[in-house]
Amino acid sequence: MNKRILLINGFKRTKILAASLIKKGYKVTAINNNKEHCKLLSEIDKLSVFHGDGSRPFVLEDANAYNADIAIALSEYDEDNLVICELCKKKFNVRKTVSTITDPKKMDFFHRMGIDSVVCTITTIANIIEQHAFLDEITTSISSGEYENLKTTQISISHNEPCVNKKLRELNLPESSIIGCILRANKAMVPRGEMRILAGDILVLITLDEHETAAIKELTGR
């Protein structure tokens, strides 16, 4: 049987998520307490839409939340998301709960309340904006969920970077940082100490947060 996913509250994000999840073959149900939004959501093919406050047990019951695989709370209010996730977990036996939050300080609290995944949308987006604004040579930087201090960064190497034509073992990378992969001419290569960095390479750098700047400086000189 297809996995059942509940999307509770939120409109624009729900719309995008629903479309993408349905495409991947999941059975998606959206619960929203705004009638207009419900009507617009119901235009999405194969999406079941329920109108009601998702933090109320009887609304979740109507939406057949029992034993769903994943519940994603997308409300803009943290308190609603907390109650939604707790209800899904405790009353409706949902296997995995995901909550978005706006106050990053509550991350720890939500984890302690037993919510499986907590996404702080504001800090995530702010981080992405910061990367795009300041670091041209870095294409993506992923900080992975609960291990926030672990960073995976892709760095494009052009002609004038100080590391070009150096062997990997000649680099003076700070501790707790490693080049995990070299992408060259559409091929991924597992790096060895004897390999040379060439212009046009993309390096996948894995570092702890505190050493990230130093590692990037060693590679790009900035």
């Binding site: 307490n33 009638k35 419900c38 009507k39 959501l41 119901s42 235009e43 999405i44 093919d45 194969k46 999406l47 079941s48 839409v49 329920f50 109108h51 009601g52 406050d53 933090s55 109320r56 047990p57 009887f58 609304v59 109507d62 939406a63 209010y77 943290d78 308190e79 609603d80 907390l82 109650v83 707790e86 209800l87 405790k90 009353k91 106050d103 300080k105 509550k106 720890d108 609290f109 302690r112 309340m113």
Partner: protein, 179 residues
């Protein structure tokens, strides 16, 4: 924070400066207790008596920084009486789980979500249930408090029955109106 020079170890934090919150804060302040009251809207503090000697904090009590500003860690009791049940639940859970406050009281209009907080030792007050009990005292011949419980479940059942199905897409179901 000491009031009226009295030696006092208690520090009560009231969340939500509505009629109930303001009254509680006034009463506590009058008997010389240390009180802090938090509300999002600074105008709400007008409900406090001019003699109110506690701390007023403007801000959203669901934000940890606001609770920290009001020194929640030192509180001996937290009373959450905002007009939103979910806010009261979250503030109560925050106080209990993150700050280990001994006495946490939350006012809940609808005790539906009990399973969320019942294992954490939060004391809850439901105005509808209390009112029914009081009215029952005036009308002992009817045994009203039991009947209102039934009325409550009947209302829920009606809401479920009143779901509407629209033609658009996969259909919208209506959970009906509720407070």
């Amino acid at each position: 924070m000491k009031l009226f020079g009295k030696k006092n170890e208690n520090y009560t934090m009231v969340i939500g400066c509505g009629r109930l919150g303001a009254n509680l804060a006034n009463a506590l302040s009058d008997i010389g207790e240390s009180v802090a009251i938090i509300d999002k809207n600074p105008d709400a503090f007008r409900k406090l008596a001019s003699s109110f000697g506690g701390l007023t904090v403007t801000g959203d009590a669901t934000e940890i920084s606001v609770l920290d500003n009001a020194d929640i860690a030192k509180a001996t009791a937290v009373i959450s009486v905002t007009n939103k049940d979910n806010t009261n639940i979250m503030v109560a859970l925050l106080a209990k789980k993150m700050y280990n406050i001994k006495r946490v009281v939350a006012r809940l209009y609808d005790p539906d979500c009990e399973c969320v907080y019942d294992e954490f030792g939060i004391e809850t007050i439901c105005p509808a249930v209390l009112s029914a009990k009081e009215i029952d005292k005036f009308l002992p011949e009817f045994d009203l408090s039991e009947k209102t419980e039934i009325a409550h479940t009947e209302r829920d059942a009606k809401q479920k029955a009143g779901q509407l199905h629209t033609a658009a897409g996969a259909g919208v179901k209506d959970g009906g109106a509720y407070e």
